[in-house]
């Protein structure tokens, strides 16, 4: 099961002569770190890293903020049209991304936002699914504390900020993890809206890399490993969160 991942690591650490041998050499002897140095020179890899971090962090922060605000309104506030609006959200959950992708691409192209961070970040900051997930969780929180707070004169925003959010850490952690993962791995959308190497993220940077160095497997595997390692480390140190998050997302949905 681990073999492909180890094979990636092993290839990335081989000397060029040791890569194209048959039978393949399983272990990278002698060790060769050169690929991990060359990656940063061959393409603007540091730039891709920076772009990905900027995009993933912004998308995640935006989505958690907008989703939790809307989810609170749907779960707790009473106002005309609430259920109709919520139904409109639900109705879009099953629509494939490709359907909305086309008009959004055209819109961004018309206002000259292709090749910008805005094109990568803004469409990802809002999520009907995230809103739905948090709403379901908020509905499960007992209302007693809120009632007491309201009698004491606490505003709706105060209740949201001081009661609902602190009680919803598991759900917020789930949404944070999945949004961040999704943004880090996103491929098709950046591929469509980004052309300039200065704005590329890691995934499309890797695809570009592959186009430029299609047979330099040592270099490609080093780049692949570098694209994945932050996610793997975050996962290994926070496994519990991930597993609970999947159960939460799966059971609520």
């Amino acid at each position: 099961m681990l073999l492909p991942l180890l094979w990636m690591l092993s290839t990335s650490l081989k000397t060029p002569e040791n890569i194209f041998t048959f039978p393949p050499k399983l272990l990278p002897i002698p060790l060769n770190w050169q690929n991990y140095l060359d990656v940063w020179e061959a393409v603007p890899f540091a730039r891709f890293y920076l772009n990905t971090v900027i995009v993933a962090v912004s998308v995640t922060a935006g989505q958690v903020a907008t989703s939790s605000l809307a989810a609170y309104a749907f779960a707790r506030l009473e106002f005309p049209g609430r259920d109709k609006v919520f139904f409109a959200y639900l109705a879009t959950l099953m629509i494939p991304g490709a359907v909305t992708m086309i008009p959004v691409f055209i819109l961004l192209r018309m206002i000259g936002w292709l090749n910008t961070y805005k094109a990568l970040i803004l469409p990802g900051m809002f999520s009907a699914y995230g809103t739905f997930l948090l709403r379901q969780f908020f509905l499960g929180i007992p209302t007693d504390i809120e009632d007491a707070a309201r009698i004491d004169g606490c505003s709706a925003f105060g209740i949201y900020k001081n009661i609902i959010l602190p009680l919803s850490k598991p759900a917020l952690a789930t949404l944070t993890i999945f949004t961040f993962l999704g943004a880090w791995r996103d491929f098709m959308w950046p591929l469509i809206v980004i052309d300039s190497p200065q704005k590329k993220t890691l995934t499309i940077g890797l695809a570009m890399f592959q186009g430029l160095h299609s047979t330099d497997w040592g270099l490609l595997m080093a780049a692949s490993f570098l694209v994945m390692i932050p996610l793997i480390l975050v996962f290994l140190f926070n496994q519990r969160f991930f597993i609970e998050g999947i159960k939460l997302a799966g059971l609520k949905a």
Binding site: M1, L5, F20, T203
Partner: protein, 306 residues
């Protein structure tokens, strides 16, 4: 008057909370859905102004002519890519079965089982494009790991990704490797842990063997989980295959790994917006129909089982 003010205040508060989300929802989801339906009835290429062409895109996409008793599709590529998509989805039942078997095998609290869960889950935490890239390397016909391992079994492996016959199975295998220990296994593990112990104890007292315990306790008790997994897999499957094909074959050889989503991507890149939107809507209707059908048919069955 007081009542009116209260209602107004409630309305304002409600929509104030919704505002940031609803603006994004309208701009990036709701209006684009309507817009893409409109675009699918045009020949918009982003260079010339769009013309209304009615159902022409859909006619080209889905319709056919009969010439000398032979069926000729207006767009044979669409049907070919549809077939490719369904072929790749053929991995789904194997994946679900594998996830269930793994979950049952690892549903113990020993240290080794917990570590194995982590290892099996690891591919799901990786970045798909990077995974597909290493698999392309693994499938290398001359010095690849896969053919080397096969050579021990006395099999001379083909040039997997350059063969119109083998490229699709190779992608399916990669998908199975990624997915088998992933989300589905976790959901099955969660499902297994919810089955009351007493059921198994009672069954054992009655002398039920392992297969009977699986068939009459585990499988029916997991039916809601399986149902959820099947629906999610179908929805994802119809939309899938783009990243794998892009990184491993660029859709080749001869279009044998292009899926519906890949075809939409190509049409966007060719600036054929009308046609791209039409394919996207066909995909949507397809997913909607299949989901609705599973819900009606499968939902009833589960009710019966419970």
């Amino acid at each position: 008057m007081l009542l009116y003010n209260k209602r107004l205040r409630q309305t304002l508060t409600g929509y104030a909370f919704l505002a940031p989300n609803i603006i994004g929802f309208l701009t990036f989801t709701f209006l684009p859905v309507l817009a893409s339906l409109g675009i699918s009835f045009t020949d918009w290429d982003l260079i010339h102004p769009p013309h209304w062409v009615g159902l022409k895109n859909f006619e080209r996409l889905l319709w056919f002519t009969i010439e000398q008793g032979k069926l000729i599709f207006n767009d044979p590529n669409f049907w070919k890519y549809f077939y490719n998509t369904v072929f790749l989805m053929g991995g789904i039942p194997f994946g679900i079965f594998g996830s269930l078997m793994l979950a049952m095998a690892l549903n113990k609290t020993g240290k080794i089982h917990i570590s194995l869960r982590t290892i099996y889950f690891l591919p799901s935490m990786c970045v798909p494009v990077a995974i597909f890239l290493v698999w392309r390397w693994i499938y290398d016909p001359d010095v690849g790991l896969f053919n080397w391992i096969l050579s021990f079994l006395g099999i001379k492996g083909p040039n997997w990704l350059s063969s119109t016959f083998w490229a699709k199975p190779a992608i399916v295998l990669t998908g199975l490797w990624v997915g088998i220990g992933g989300y589905n296994m976790i959901l099955y593990l969660a499902g297994l842990q919810e089955i009351p112990r007493q059921f198994y104890e009672a069954a054992e007292i009655d002398g039920a063997n392992a297969w009977q315990r699986f068939r009459y306790i585990t499988w029916p008790m997991l039916a809601p989980t399986t149902f959820f997994i099947v629906i999610m897999s179908l929805i994802a499957g119809f939309q899938g295959g783009f990243e794998a094909a892009y990184m491993m074959t660029r859709g080749g050889p001869a279009g044998s790994t292009i899926t519906l989503t890949y075809y939409i991507y190509n049409n966007i890149i060719w600036l054929k917006m009308g046609y791209a939107a039409a394919i996207a809507w066909v995909l949507f209707v397809l997913i909607f129909t299949v989901t609705l059908f599973s819900w009606r048919y499968g939902g009833r069955k589960i009710h019966y089982v419970m």
